[in-house]
């Protein structure tokens, strides 16, 4: 589904290059549930955002479903990722000024989906996650677990083929965390490819492959 070859990523600061990724090769097949692990500063999140097309490579190749993403400009990348990829964040990143309903609806606006269709799609999601009663609340009126549910609902409403999660349970207590991981597992079984970043061995166990990163390199 996606393959990255010879990937380099660095930041220049006062003419000193700080490498975040060095010569990374990774391939993810459709239907996989991959976990990226590693200590702080290993480059896990950077790798995840590159796969999500929010960051670019400084060197190397990135193909997504036969598309040479490393050759795309911002506009082309945006067009590809908005239909293909969903994101879940540790801090949920819901928009405070929008209600639960409106937060979930937002990606559909950018995908130019008709109003009536949007409504039924959002209602399906609310139903599926059992948050119909919360649809008119604002994010700060929800618990962390509930906020993350909204975050996931928003990530998958556009039916992406790939779901990227950056420490999705990092801010949650263990019961909430477990619930979210069960949800991921279910989504994976329904056919969504998932890549998650986590520190926790326990959460990694939900996936079916682990990639370890250390100082920007993949270690076996």
């Amino acid at each position: 589904m996606l393959s990255i070859k010879g990937a380099f990523k660095y930041y220049s600061n006062n003419f000193v290059k700080t490498y975040v990724l060095r010569d990374v090769d990774i391939e993810v097949k459709e239907g996989e549930f991959v976990t990226i692990m590693g200590p702080s500063g290993a480059g896990k999140s950077t790798l995840l955002y590159i796969m999500g097309m929010l960051e670019t490579l400084d060197d190397g190749e990135f193909h997504y479903k036969e598309n040479p993403v490393h050759k795309f400009n911002e506009k082309k990348r945006t067009n590809l990722h908005k239909h293909e990829i969903g994101f879940v964040f540790q801090q949920y990143h819901l928009i405070d000024e929008l209600t639960v309903y409106e937060n979930i609806e937002m990606p559909l606006l950018y995908q130019k989906i008709k109003g009536s269709d949007r409504k039924s799609m959002v209602c399906d999601m609310l139903d599926k996650f059992n948050i119909v009663g919360k649809k008119d609340l604002f994010p700060n009126q929800l618990s962390g677990g509930q906020q993350q549910l909204v975050g996931i609902a928003r990530a998958i409403i556009g039916k992406p083929s790939l779901l990227l999660a950056d420490e999705p349970t990092g801010n949650l207590n263990s019961a909430q965390g477990k619930e979210i991981m069960e949800l991921f597992k279910k989504l994976n079984e329904e056919g969504t490819t998932i890549i998650q970043v986590t520190h926790s061995e326990e959460k990694a166990a939900y996936g079916n492959r682990i990639v370890n990163l250390l100082d920007g390199r993949i270690v076996e």
């Binding site: 999500g52 506009k75 801090q91 990606p107 995908q111």
Partner: protein
């Protein structure tokens, strides 16, 4: 999608109430000022634009040159109109014209005073678009006709039909031949009634004389006649008519007359001045820039709070252009709200503004297509301008960094804001300095020693009255009367001048223009004009009536006479001697330098009685004066007025402009303060964490207030450094308009600089003190 944008925009406005209110109020006040001043400007520039033939109508002016100066004169000889029309086929119509006469109408034994009467020739109604409602279409063709405006007709005849009625002026029986619509306010030609010019010409033989300039001449050229060629053709016309005339003629387009007649001698009163148009346009520009800067810097500050939203929208697939439109749209929305508020404010302020500016402005002007188009273009332009920078800045955030919430405000954004604040404050300071100096100049002119004393003098019209000496004796009997004299013109604005004087030792090539005033005995004493040499006119020395002349020092200087007393001098063929030299006094508004002046005694031309009264009981003294006048001249009603009031009227338009200027400068500074307040709120919020850390490390409250205030004070100081030299230059230019002007005052500069910094510190301190007193633990947790 639009609904989503609107929703989030409105919710953001509600959430950041302080910012939104500051942003909207600042812009609304700015727009209010802009709209008010634009209405004023619009009202000035539409003057005389309603005449259908306006493009082809011109006023003939004269350019007179003398060795000491050139003069542009608004009046022309009486025979000019008819003669020039006969000589040039390109001139289709021509009319003599004069206005401003107050006349007493006799209608069936009733006396009615009608102000602002005018006289013109038959062509007048063919040239100008003053629609005739009733009566003859050529109403001035009969010598004994009179034309009334609707209001005048109602005033005189009430509801009865006015056409065909008779009124009597100067003992002539005139018949009302037409009623015209009231003259619109925005017309420099203005009258309540109109009589054939020939009536005036018959009463004043001077009007048939090529050598006497006293009336206005308007002509209409055939379509497609070249203005330049025509100007060239008529340039030397007077010389062709009479060899001794050297004045050149030139044409002034009708549409330029109102605003571009500044400095013309013997023009109508109440004309406009294009320099005020320029000045006010600049102020509009300044205020709009100042409030736009607020808008931009506050928006960028406010939007940085929304970095997360930008990041997220990019993550879920928003294009950069979509984000730009979103934020541009928000700016537009805010601007529209401000515009709505501004329109309400304008409507509320208009009565007061009209009062100050002596105008009748109305919001209806905005419905004028040009004005409406201008407003829409302006709002879209400002919306775009103020929205585009924040929109680009925001949409450029990288999604990942934006979501992490790290340094998104960036050094670039804050540098931009600094430049904005400096610009804003520079403009405000320039405005303040200019306004203060202009006010000082006006004050100076009001208090300037004129060379005569204008207080305690009352005057009244005695034209055509011939028992002056007896009257004078009678008045002087009253204890409250100090001195009595009469004159042909009041000494604050003497306009008559002549080039026909000859003196001992005059060279043939000397052309010498001298202003003259015909006075009675005791005039110099009544106005307390000081003498430099010789004596003033004296009743005891009978030779004065045999042509004694008194000149001012400037005249003696220009003529180059040494030991002037007793020297021969003659004017208009009247030979005599110089008996005295007065010290120079200001007989024209202080815009003008002092020019040569001649006083002479001629009993026949005295028109105004002047009386110096003592301060004890002016009310009774004046009623005594009026009663005594009534005994001598029961036919007329006599009213005495105070001369110093008349004098102050001369500077009315300047006082008006001064008031308007102060008002808008005050508002500009207020807007700039709002901006600074908003920005300081934002900046202190941004530095919450820093403040927390500093407090934990042991900084006390004053310490932190100083750290926070320093930043803003620095900008305002820089703004002062930029503004002062610019203001110096501008003020210098402005003061050039006055012949007698104040020196550049460094005190004003000093006070302005210090107070601007103080104002800035006080504005900022509201926020800094609050921030410095906050609990450090909370500040750190917040982050």
């Amino acid at each position: 999608m639009f609904k989503n944008y609107l929703k989030i925009a409105l919710r953001n406005l509600m959430r950041n109430k302080v910012f939104s209110v500051i942003n909207i109020i600042g812009m609304a006040i700015g727009l209010t000022c802009g709209i008010l001043l634009s209405l004023w400007i619009f009202d000035e520039i539409i003057y005389d634009k309603f005449h259908e033939n306006g493009e082809n109508i011109y006023r003939i002016l004269e350019n007179q040159s003398y060795s000491s100066q050139n003069m542009q004169v608004a009046v022309t000889p009486g025979p000019l109109a008819e003669s020039i029309k006969n000589d040039f086929p390109e001139i289709v119509y021509a009319t003599r014209y004069s206005q401003g006469l107050t006349q007493v109408f006799k209608v069936k034994e009733k006396k009615i005073t009608v102000t602002n009467g005018a006289s013109a020739d038959e062509d007048f109604f063919k040239m100008f678009s003053f629609p005739i409602i009733k009566g003859s279409q050529t109403p001035l063709s009969e010598i004994n006709s009179i034309v009334l405006t609707e209001d005048t007709a109602t005033k005189i005849f009430g509801d009865t039909e006015a056409i065909g009625q008779h009124v009597s002026i100067y003992g002539l029986d005139l018949q009302v031949t037409a009623i015209v619509k009231n003259v619109p306010r925005n017309s420099h030609i203005s009258f309540n009634h109109l009589i054939p010019f020939q009536i005036m010409a018959d009463r004043n033989p001077n009007l048939d004389n090529w050598g006497s300039n006293s009336i206005h001449t308007y002509i209409q050229l055939a379509k497609n006649t070249s203005f330049e060629q025509m100007s060239e053709k008529i340039k030397m016309y007077l010389k062709e008519k009479a060899e001794e005339l050297s004045s050149e003629l030139y044409l002034q387009p009708l549409t330029d007359t109102y605003l571009h007649s500044v400095g013309l001698v013997a023009d109508y009163g109440g004309m406009g001045d294009f320099r005020y148009i320029v000045l006010f346009s600049i102020i509009v520009l300044f205020i709009i820039v100042i409030s736009s800067v607020n808008f931009i810097s506050l928006s960028t500050a406010r939007y940085t709070k929304r970095a997360k939203e930008v990041g997220l929208r990019k993550v879920v697939g928003s294009q950069r252009s979509q984000l730009i439109w979103q934020f541009l749209g928000e700016s537009m929305l805010l601007l529209l709200i401000a515009l709505g508020a501004a329109l309400v404010l304008v409507e509320l302020c208009l009565p007061a503004f009209n009062n100050i500016a002596a105008k009748e402005l109305s919001l209806m002007y905005l419905l004028n297509p040009a004005m409406l188009f201008g407003l829409i273009v302006f709002v879209v332009f400002i919306g775009f301008l103020t929205g585009i920078y924040p929109a680009f800045l925001l949409s450029s955030f990288k999604p990942v960094t934006a979501l992490k919430g790290s340094q998104i405000s960036g050094s670039k954004g804050s540098l931009f804001r600094k430049i904005m604040v400096v610009t804003q404050w520079s403009l405000s300071i320039i405005l303040i300095l200019s306004t203060l100096m202009i006010s000082k100049q006006l004050q100076f002119m009001k208090n300037k020693k004129l060379g005569f004393e204008k207080e305690q003098i009352v005057y009244t019209n005695i034209r055509g009255f011939n028992e002056i000496d007896a009257l004078k004796r009678e008045l002087l009997k009253y204890s409250g009367v100090e001195s009595v004299s009469s004159t042909s013109a009041l000494p604050h604005n003497i306009m008559n001048s002549t080039s026909g004087s000859v003196w001992e030792g005059k060279n043939d090539e000397d052309t010498f223009l001298v202003h003259y005033n015909i006075v009675d005995y005791d005039f110099i004493e009544t106005f307390k004009i000081e003498m430099a040499e010789g004596r003033s006119f004296s009743q005891e020395l009978s030779d004065d009536t045999n042509f004694g002349f008194i000149l001012n020092q400037e005249a003696i200087k220009q003529m180059g006479i040494e030991d002037p007393i007793g020297k021969q001098y003659s004017i208009w063929g009247m030979e005599g001697q110089i008996v005295g030299v007065m010290k120079d006094f200001h007989f024209k508004p202080l815009h003008n330098p002092i020019e040569p002046m001649l006083f002479l005694l001629l009993k026949d031309y005295l028109e105004i009685l002047v009386v110096r009264i003592d301060t004890a009981d002016p009310v009774n003294t004046i009623s005594y004066l009026e009663e005594t006048m009534a005994k001598f001249d029961p036919e007329r009603k006599h009213e005495f007025r105070f001369f110093d009031e008349r004098y102050n009227v001369m500077y009315n338009s300047e006082q008006q402009m001064g008031t308007i200027l102060r008002l808008f400068t005050g508002l500009a500074i207020f807007i700039a303060c709002l901006g600074l307040f908003g920005l300081s709120t934002f900046m202190t919020q941004q530095r919450t964490k820093e403040i927390g850390i500093r407090k934990v490390m042991g900084a006390d409250v004053p310490n932190i207030v100083v750290i926070l205030s320093k930043e803003f004070t620095k900008w305002v100081v820089i703004a002062n450094l930029i503004a002062c030299p610019v203001a110096y230059f501008i003020i210098n230019k402005l003061l050039q308009n006055f012949a007698y002007r104040i020196d550049m005052s460094y005190k004003v500069f000093g006070i302005t600089v210090i107070s601007s910094i103080l104002i800035a510190i006080v504005t900022v301190s509201f926020q800094t003190i609050k921030a410095a007193n906050s609990n450090p633990v909370k500040a750190l947790k917040y982050e």
